[in-house]
């Protein structure tokens, strides 16, 4: 996708938005760190990842190419992994392009390289969960737009879960918040790489990939 006109549009939009949120903090607030950028990143990805994934399975279904793909000597699970890897690779390229921010910061002064590295890892893991949720949404419909709305809706729900948790009684806060990938991402931004956060994000991406796989298989049996 990154070598198509649409790919350039998406990449440009993402980098513009990234630059805006990074630069705003740097020049207006005068703070030379990445924290503000990373805290807005879940929201950015919320818009971009469903858009990058929506056609992945929906269009295959609509154009009939899914039949072509599914009658090649590959397993259904390979197809799911392939699609996941394709979107993920694009996200990683986009994230890699934002590495110029910490690099330029390091020229200005001291940065906490460890924390930034963990934040990037957290961003990649969060992106992975978003990609699997969006892929699942893409498998549910044969219309890209419907897939986008479904994916965006599910991700928004998960995003709001973390916000809503704060208004709940403390006993429930922990439980509800634990279900939100954004909460685990937030934990990692502190620079602490806790096993449970990493495992949660990986498990969630695996879970939605399994759902996608299940959905593709289910369609064959109906």
């Amino acid at each position: 996708m990154l070598d198509t006109p649409l790919g350039y549009v998406v990449a440009t939009a993402f980098l513009l938005a990234s630059g805006f949120f990074f630069g705003k903090n740097l020049f207006l607030v005068g703070q030379a760190d990445m924290r503000a950028y990373f805290s807005v990143l879940p929201l950015l990805l919320l818009f971009f990842i469903p858009a990058m994934s929506m056609r992945m399975l929906a269009d295959e279904q609509r154009e009939g190419t899914f039949e072509l793909l599914a009658t090649m000597p590959v397993r259904m699970l390979d197809i799911v992994f392939g699609k996941f890897a394709a979107v993920m690779l694009q996200i990683l390229v986009l994230l890699a392009l934002t590495l110029v921010y910490p690099l330029s910061l390091s020229l200005l002064g001291h940065i906490d390289a460890g924390q930034i590295a963990v934040s990037y890892l957290a961003a990649a893991l969060l992106a992975a969960t978003y990609v699997s949720v969006s892929l699942y949404a893409s498998s549910l419909s044969s219309h890209a737009i419907v897939s986008y709305v479904l994916g965006f809706g599910m991700l928004l729900g998960l995003f709001l879960l973390a916000q809503a948790a704060a208004t709940l009684p403390p006993a429930m806060q922990d439980w509800i918040g634990m279900l939100s990938p954004v909460q685990h991402y937030g934990n990692m931004l502190r620079g602490v790489m806790a096993l449970e956060d990493v495992v949660f994000l990986l498990a969630m991406s695996g879970g939605f990939m399994a759902l996608t796989w299940f959905q593709l298989e289910r369609r064959r049996w109906l």
Partner: protein, 312 residues
Amino acid sequence: MIKAEGLTRFYGENAAVKDLSFHVRRGEVMGLLGPNGAGKSTTMKMLTCFLPPSSGRASIDGVGLDDALAVRSRVGYLPENAPSYADLDVHTHLRFVGRMHAIPKVTLEDRILEMAGVCSLHTVLHRRIDELSKGYRQRVGLAASMLHDPECLILDEPTTGLDPNQIVEIRHLVRRLAEKKTVLLSSHVLPEVEAACDRMMIIDGGALRAIGTSRELARQGHGGAILHARLTTPGEAEAALKQMHEQFSGIEVEQYEEDGVVQVILRHPDPDVELAEAMFRAAVASGAVLLELRPETARLEDVFRRITRGDA
């Protein structure tokens, strides 16, 4: 090569294919005929392991459908409407298909060029697929299905949407391929199947109604040989017809006279009897003059219509 036993597939409550059994021999071109919605595509989707059968078994080159990957690598499949990745150019699309079939990179380029040659795609190799005409897209689909040199080709309506010239082209292509491969192709256009296939089967309502060569089907459907003749001089003609009656038991003769010319329609239940030759000899022997002698073979179209209307 392709063997199906009791293949059945339900969509919800509806049986799209019911208890379908057949055998396609190695090196044979088999036509799968039926009206729209007869279950042709569903049958092909089961044979390529896209849809699992509700019950029944099938094998391709001795490999059962449960070994989906092995089946798919032995089969070249052209789905209905020849779907391909429309935003890729032809070459990139073929390269992708080739890589998915694990064709080694060193030989892939040669394979692509070879298939482009077979399907006359050279001039469009670097054009985007969505810019191509239906005929070219169909050929891209065919090239993609043959890229990994499968033993067996399953082509779902390879000629729909093509103009008459393209249809002839595809038919020649299939004929050429059939020298080395086993082909199962579906269509609802009869003359096409008749021209391209060694044998054909007619399915309707998901069930097999007839299978055989076009001649065998013609016999099953209603059969019989029909001969139209015009003879002069009623007296001699009468003698000739009498001779025909004696020679062929079960022959039916319909005749009427107009301005001293006798018009005759002879019918015989066996399509293989040679009525024309006998009629000629009878006319010569009795001194009648033949003005016209025109055999009419039972047309497959009539057979098809009769069978698929359910009054076979």
